[in-house]
Amino acid sequence: MLDPVGFPLSALLESMVQTMLAMDTGLGLVIGVGLSMSASHLFSLLANRLCLRQIALQMVLDALVLSLALSLGILCHSLMLTLMEHVPPQPIMMANRMGAALWPGLFYVLVAAPYISDLIAVTLLAWIHLNVMLLLQVHYGIPLQEGLVVSLPGFVLALVLIALVFAQRWRTSYNTLAREVGR
């Protein structure tokens, strides 16, 4: 199914593909990943000095916004496929096929950890991107190099949206802190 890149690497990629195909999960995973991402910046909500009810509400809202960002990323993949590979646009089917690629994002909550957060975040995001490329190869027969180009705009779009949500939350918390010190 995959081009032999060298035995250990191709075996590893093959096992990653089999894992995703065996998952039998679709777009529903996006909500789980959104919740995990939202939970990773729980402390920014605590820094805002919100009450527990407000924190829960904000977390659910953020989870939905982050899920939307990821879904938009997948929609972008679909558009790129149409433009570059002339695959008819089928966003729902594509989302169901690509949803499994997001499973490492379920561990995104670990990004809440200080000092190793950047390492975890970069690893998980790179892993998701690799998964998308592998699934594009399996479902649409697109080689990995071309898959990289097809999936890059959607990936960047999703990353920018996620970064905006996170930055906005942390900025609010710094404002709270500045008010506390400045009063």
Binding site: H41, F43, S44, L46, A47, R49, L110, A112, A113, P114, Y115, I116, S117, I120, W170, S173, Y174, L177, E180, V181, G182, R183
Partner: protein, 362 residues
């Protein structure tokens, strides 16, 4: 009880202990023998390279998850304090209420923040001796403030930390009194790991501001308790050794806002990120040893201080701030060639005093 009877009792106690250990070892050996015979095939599979690789991957993943969870727990404590759920977070407006005529006449306050080895308010003997020397060397107008636990945010030390005091008390007891050197080492390692995590939180762009604010509040409260008042004092100098350097740089800007006086930072063999809010600081100085591997490693571990990232807080501050560097030849990070050793402490004290004189004039 007679002394000989006490010794006899202790000897009997030890003998009993040894017998129990020997019996337990025998039982374990028999069980292991039977167990290995029963699962020989499974054990053979376990020794295959694929199994070992899988085991190593699992162990690596487990380490990442555990380290992440410990970090999250540590951050949680800071934020719980910040939320006021632990009580004890003071209102900054009430820090220096009114000028008491009996307040201290000192104008310069030197606050010492110890390295990651610190577990209690008292410093180790070698550090205490160094601080005595420093106290004698600074002028009469200056006051040295010692015994601040830089790695706890509440006014109390780790021993009295809410929710976890029982754990720390047990750990310190084992660290000091356990007869086995490995156990003492492990306990000491745990204390230092906790402090390293705090250094990591302080340098984290997301969590650092809240934690540094809490530490600045702690220092300000201590200063207020010993008679500091913004209308009389002219500056506060934070002297941070090793990881204390990061805590000093992290808390300096906040402390400046809380105390309404300029805050200067002197790091001694400092390991710091350069992520701290340095914009409002006028003076930062570094006392470094030419043979200090830890400080050199810190510079690599924290890329914000490398010239590769010109927009980092540290590199931006360097373009307009005044960094004074005092290099002491052949000085290492700790031990017999460290800054607290007899060979180097006078040189370090002299460097600190030079910096105090220089920045006082400036």
């Amino acid at each position: 009880m007679e002394p000989s009877a006490a010794i006899q009792h202790h000897r009997n106690h030890l003998r009993l202990g040894w017998r129990v250990v020997v019996i337990l070892l025998l039982i374990t050996s028999v069980l292991a023998f039977l167990g290995v015979s029963a699962v020989r095939q499974d054990a053979a599979i376990l020794l295959k390279p694929e199994s070992i690789r899988e085991l190593l991957i699992m162990a690596g993943a487990l380490v990442v998850v555990v380290v992440a969870l410990v970090g999250v727990y540590s951050v949680m404590v800071d934020f719980v304090f910040w939320e006021g759920w632990m009580r004890g977070l003071p209102d900054p407006r009430d820090l220096f209420p009114a000028l008491d005529p009996n307040t201290s006449g000192h104008r310069h306050y030197l606050v010492y923040l110890d390295g990651i080895h610190q577990s209690e308010e008292d410093h180790p003997p070698r550090v205490s001796e160094f601080l005595q020397h420093l106290e004698q060397a600074i002028d009469r107008d200056s006051l040295l403030v010692k015994g601040i636990e830089a790695y706890t945010i509440t006014p109390v030390g780790l021993k009295s930390t809410p929710f976890a005091h029982w754990f720390w008390q047990r750990l310190f007891s084992l660290q000091e009194h356990h007869p086995n050197g490995w156990v003492r080492f492990l306990c000491s390692f745990c204390v230092q790991a906790n402090n390293v995590i705090k250094v990591g939180i302080s340098s984290d762009r997301r969590y650092g501001p809240v934690m540094n604010y809490e530490l600045a509040l702690k220092i300000a409260r201590r200063l207020a308790a010993i008679g500091f008042h913004p209308s009389r004092a002219s500056r506060v100098v934070l002297v941070g050794y090793s990881g204390g350097g990061e805590m000093a740089i992290g808390a300096a800007a906040m402390l400046q806002k809380l105390c309404h006086v300029p805050v200067h930072v002197i790091t001694v063999c400092g390991v710091f990120s350069g992520n701290g809010d340095l914009e409002t600081l006028e003076h930062v100085s570094m006392v470094v040893g030419s043979k200090d591997p830890v400080a050199a490693l810190g510079r690599i571990a924290y890329p914000g201080r490398l010239p590769l990232l010109p927009l980092s807080n540290w590199n931006r501050w360097l373009t307009y701030g005044r960094l004074h560097r005092y290099e002491i030849p052949a000085m290492s990070h700790n031990g017999n060639s460290g800054p607290f050793s007899r060979d180097y402490r006078d040189k370090v004290v002299a460097a600190i005093c030079s910096e105090l004189a220089l920045t006082q004039a400036g």
